[in-house]
Symmetry: C2
Subunit: 266 residues, 2 copies
């Protein structure tokens, strides 16, 4: 069995069972990484491989320490970072769980549109269209697939208090989202990312957004019931799963009369 190596106790790069550690394989110029980073990488591999699925309990710190032959403190620091990255959730007395989109808490991370006054509430989702098509070059580039590859296209309208507020177009890699149909989307209760995670084994763990102000086009006028040329908030999102793999492109238009996009600068 190949053992993990602590920092600088050796000249060779850190090695982990079956695969290189976070620092890289280090063929040319060996890079090192702290033990806890190597442990973190190992745990992430188990998350990615589906050994521990969203919502499930992962092994205890003591057990992981025994498994990886390091101290509990080192495992702890690894899990500390995974927790900060929102990949796992600690619960005192119970254990550490794989993060899931089936919690209200997580929704706010991915839907930043808030009512100007009052409490945030769940939107009503209306799936307008689901079809499979060949990926335009522009979409393919973002999703890191080949132009012409199969993609799933979704058009959705979201209502807050019966007011049409969000119109979005979503592109997903067809290879991952095989059996995705309008029916499954429509009948599914809860957040779309919950469905992606549960049914397609693809949890969204982070996203990058670009916001612009734009004028309502014809489709927006029709569906969002705004005047032609009305200002709308355009939100273009690329969402990523484990390994920073892009798996969703989403272009949304938000009506921001009565709602706003909330952001904390920390």
């Amino acid at each position: 069995m190949v053992k993990l190596r602590a920092m600088s106790q050796t000249v060779s790069p850190p090695v982990v069972p079956g695969q290189a550690a976070a620092g890289g394989t280090g063929t040319a110029s060996p890079t090192f990484s702290p033990l806890y980073q190597q442990i973190k990488a190992l745990i992430m591999q188990s998350l990615q491989s589906g050994e521990w699925k969203p919502g499930e309990l992962i092994p205890s710190e003591v057990e992981l320490a025994y498994r990886y032959k390091v101290s509990q403190g080192t495992v702890r620091k690894a899990i500390d970072e995974l927790s900060a990255d929102n990949l796992v959730v600690r619960r005192q007395g119970k254990g550490t769980f794989v993060a899931t989109h089936h919690e209200a808490r997580v929704q706010f991370r991915f839907l930043r549109l808030m009512p100007d006054a009052g409490e945030a509430r769940q939107p009503d989702n209306h799936i307008l269209e689901v079809k499979r098509l060949r990926s335009p070059a522009e979409v393919a580039r973002v999703l890191d697939i080949k132009a012409g590859d199969s993609v799933v296209f979704i058009r959705r309208l979201q209502y807050f208090d019966a007011v049409p507020t969000i119109l979005e177009e979503i592109w997903l890699p067809g290879a991952i989202f095989k059996g995705l149909t309008a029916e499954r989307l429509a009948e599914y209760k809860g957040p779309m990312y919950g469905l992606f995670e549960t049914e397609f084994g693809t949890p969204m763990i982070r996203a990058s957004e670009r916001l612009k102000a734009v004028s309502a086009d014809e489709l927006a006028v029709e569906l969002l019931k705004v005047q032609s040329g009305a200002p709308l908030l355009s939100v273009e999102r690329v969402a990523y799963t484990y390994g920073d793999r892009p798996v969703e492109l989403r272009r949304a238009l938000y009506v921001t009369t009565g709602h706003h996009y909330h952001n904390e600068l920390i």
Copy 2:
């Protein structure tokens, strides 16, 4: 001398020299907080009081451990959190420094407008107006002062590559920003928050923003050189200094043709 107390080794609430700890004074129902949280609160008090100013070196972990009579590990955990909160910056081999706005790195935290293509660059600032006036009720409520209290009002235009892009109105509590004039603002090189921090002892440590899409009004048309009714990104910000005290209200209009507001959802 009153000593700090570790968790639950006593029935009385944790006490710190001269003041209650993070958990609160606990007169009615004593609340507890971990030792490292108490240390963190103590360090924050020193930051707030100006004992250690932005850019300066704070005492080493060993020294702080001696001062507070706790282990270095406990001080470390306190500073870990302060570092995560962006209140201090660690530098291996050198020490721990109080965070400052005089670093390019910090700019990106507070200016999220990026060019759609190419590298971000520093804007040219044009101060259009600086005046002192009595606070409108609406502004006073946000800044937690009394309506009619003195406030400094600033109107500023920012250019990227000679293109007018950001028009903003800023309100500041007059009591804090006494000698603030158009001249000082105009002659100051670097970010406005750097000036606030250096000249007025008021570092902005976090901010909360509300974004909406709006139509250009007359003033925006004139100054931002956009067409009447053109869509603009409205960004309303409240910035806070130590102790979560609001000290700035900023209402900005961003031109988002060629630029976008960037946000990471993590």
